[in-house]
Symmetry: C2
Subunit: 192 residues, 2 copies
Amino acid sequence: MTQERRLTAEDWAEAALEALGEGGLSAIAVEPLAARLGVTKGSFYWHFANREALVAAALALWEQRSTEAKIASLNAEPDPVARIRLLFSQAIELAGRDSAEINLRAASDNPLVQPLLRRVIQRRLWYTIDLFEQIGFSREEAIRRGAMAFTAYGGQSEITARFPGIMPIDEGGGIGAYVDSVLEVLLSGRPG
Amino acid sequence: MTQERRLTAEDWAEAALEALGEGGLSAIAVEPLAARLGVTKGSFYWHFANREALVAAALALWEQRSTEAKIASLNAEPDPVARIRLLFSQAIELAGRDSAEINLRAASDNPLVQPLLRRVIQRRLWYTIDLFEQIGFSREEAIRRGAMAFTAYGGQSEITARFPGIMPIDEGGGIGAYVDSVLEVLLSGRPG
DNA sequence: TCATTACCCTACGCTAGCGTATGGTGTCTC
DNA sequence: GAGACACCATACGCTAGCGTAGGGTAATGA
């Protein structure tokens, strides 16, 4: 964290991403980050033109890593049904793993964040829809169920992250059982 | 809006709530609001101790009105299934009706907003769960389905509000058809 | 070894917003 | 009609954060 050697633009972007996870978008601030890196903002303005450029760098870093991570963990699972289950499980425990995403959602009005989230949502939504189509639902039905699944685990992860303990999913079997019951409902009337 | 007469604390709270709906929590700022009300902040600090008090007043105003409105519109419908349908329909078109709520969710880390939203979520969640119990599901199953319904329409309203046009629910029948299909899934295997 | 380059510091100006002190004015009351 | 009170203006100090100017230093390559 606090380095002895001199810094690069990547060091700054890394620190910015970390700050985003801890304090939200507004925590990506030049002077506080400089202090944290044991340096003055004179350093920053050598590597970046302005704060916006730093925010953009941190967002790019996040997008790359988050998509890589999700794709990697999901591609390991060949069965579509198991993939959906994985999607859900991951989303529910997303709070601890990726607090940057939670904080990004809260800043979705920001002109840099808005298009980024739009891309990410689009990808995930249609990925989910595709899964339901692979399972055997018609395209129209897959769109409906996929959209429902996506909003459900989006809302779920948001709420559990921001209001821990408020969802009564710990009763009777824990998270796994809840995920199973959700899937049972989402897959009801499954053809094939 | 811009008044000729002198102001009361309620006028300030009202303007603050309006600003919250338009620009988020940070838009509840003393000097901009004063300018908007055609007055200086000397007026404000006569009515309130500080900014936090104004935020609290605006939040109280919102909580009171939003719960009143929702309860009124839902109590008019006696059938539980129709009520759930109403809940969903309302949530989806929530963006235009209550942008203050959307902006509040984005500020849920704020120490004044956090407990407020926690209360509201708690109320709505268990209200939804009760509906599923009234329909005939067991308590355990009602908790699962209610939680799922709640997160689904929470996520739905958030996404449609922040990223209009991104959800493919307008295809083939519009919102009403989508709500119906969601309900069909959520009520699958319904006893009684 | 010496100049160049990469990186950083110090010091400054600027803005938005919070909060305070104090004085002014219209309206109500006796 | 004279005070009292409610409401507001003016003017100030303060903080956090952005951005700039210009000088300094350590390492590196010729």
